[in-house]
């Protein structure tokens, strides 16, 4: 074979080879999935075999497989909401690490803040009541002798630091 033709043959062989690898490689790697997205979804799902850990944190095999399924579904084009809905469909609401903010479950999200608000109101009322009370008995303050006054002054200075 003449050198130019050999070169042509080699070049085309190389071209075909690279094309094939590209196609094969491309078929293996699906749409690249963001690992952070997988973790984010997994962090909201409860690991079913270990109590109270999320699927993201759990070292168990089940959690591993569930992360694989999340990855697969995201790669196939599901939205995060759809992936979560899939798990809820199979396991029940219980699989969500925190209940959805609707219906009865809204209570758990609202009550603590409501409690805090109520507490703040109570404290505000108390403080106002207590600070108003002192204004009245000023005139009836008992007489204090000089030694006592010095001592009081000293101790207050100490405390007020």
């Amino acid at each position: 074979m003449t050198p130019p033709r050999a070169r042509l043959l080699l070049a085309s062989l190389l071209a075909v080879a690279s094309l094939l690898t590209l196609v094969a490689g491309g078929a293996g790697a699906a749409a690249p999935v963001n690992e952070d997205a997988v973790r984010e979804i997994a962090a909201q799902l409860r690991c079913v075999v270990c109590q109270n850990l999320s699927v993201a944190d759990s070292p168990s095999e089940t959690a591993n497989q569930m992360r694989g399924i999340i990855r697969e579904r995201l790669a196939a084009g599901d939205t995060p909401e759809q992936v979560m809905a899939y798990f809820v469909e199979k396991y029940g609401l219980w699989i969500l690490l925190s209940p959805p903010k609707q219906g009865f479950n809204l209570l758990v999200w609202v009550v603590p803040f409501a409690g805090l608000g109520l507490g703040l109101a109570v404290v505000a009322v108390l403080l106002r009541r207590w600070s108003r009370r002192t204004a009245v008995p000023a005139a009836e303050a008992p007489a204090v002798d000089e030694a006592m006054r010095q001592r009081i002054r000293r101790e207050m200075a100490e405390l007020d630091r």
Binding site: V48, V49, Q65, M66, G68, I69, F87, K90, Y91
Partner: protein, 177 residues
């Protein structure tokens, strides 16, 4: 704030909480009711340990008992294995199918398990756990009873006993098509 009656509200306020905690004794936090009961069973296609394909569609019209197991699941899977094999042999002529799905396991110990109990019904591994998650499995063993129309009718968590197997299968087998 008036004294007298109101103050006794404090100890009384504790009572509802105590009732709630007492209610807790009647529940089992580890038992989670399956949302799949009454719904169509999720389809699957797997390859058995003998190399044959098996799919749920192909079993439509039969009562299907789907059992999830693992060789490390001791003692429950070991207790129910003979029950399943016996049940299979008894009901196979009545158009009842028994399928075992092996999850989170290695091939060698799984095959040893099958050999030990001489299972003659098809068993297939579920390597990535897709089928187990599709069925909301959270432990082994779990057994699903699927009717002829392909609907999940019952789920049993833990080792299956003769009574449970018989009761469920009889019920589904004698149902009109």
């Amino acid at each position: 704030m008036s004294a007298g009656r109101v103050r006794w509200a404090i100890p009384l306020a504790v009572v509802p909480l105590l009732f709630l905690l007492a209610y807790g004794f009647r529940t089992d936090p580890r038992e989670i009711p399956s949302p799949l009961v009454g719904k169509p069973a999720a389809p699957f296609t797997l390859t058995t340990f003998d190399g044959e394909p098996i799919s749920l569609e192909s079993l439509r019209g039969k009562v299907v008992v789907l059992n999830f197991w693992a060789s490390w699941c001791y003692p429950a899977c070991y207790e129910e294995a003979p029950v399943l094999e016996r049940g299979w042999r008894e009901y196979r002529d009545r158009s009842v199918m028994l399928v075992g799905i092996n999850i989170q396991d290695k091939e060698e110990p799984a095959r040893k398990f099958l050999q030990q109990f001489g299972h003659t019904f098809p068993n297939a591994p579920d390597p990535q756990g897709r089928v187990s998650v599709d069925y909301g499995v959270y432990g082994v063993p779990e057994t699903f009873f699927i009717d002829r129309a392909g609907r999940v009718r019952a789920k049993h968590v833990g080792a299956v006993t003769e009574q449970i197997f018989r009761a469920q299968v009889e019920r589904l087998a004698t149902e009109p098509g």
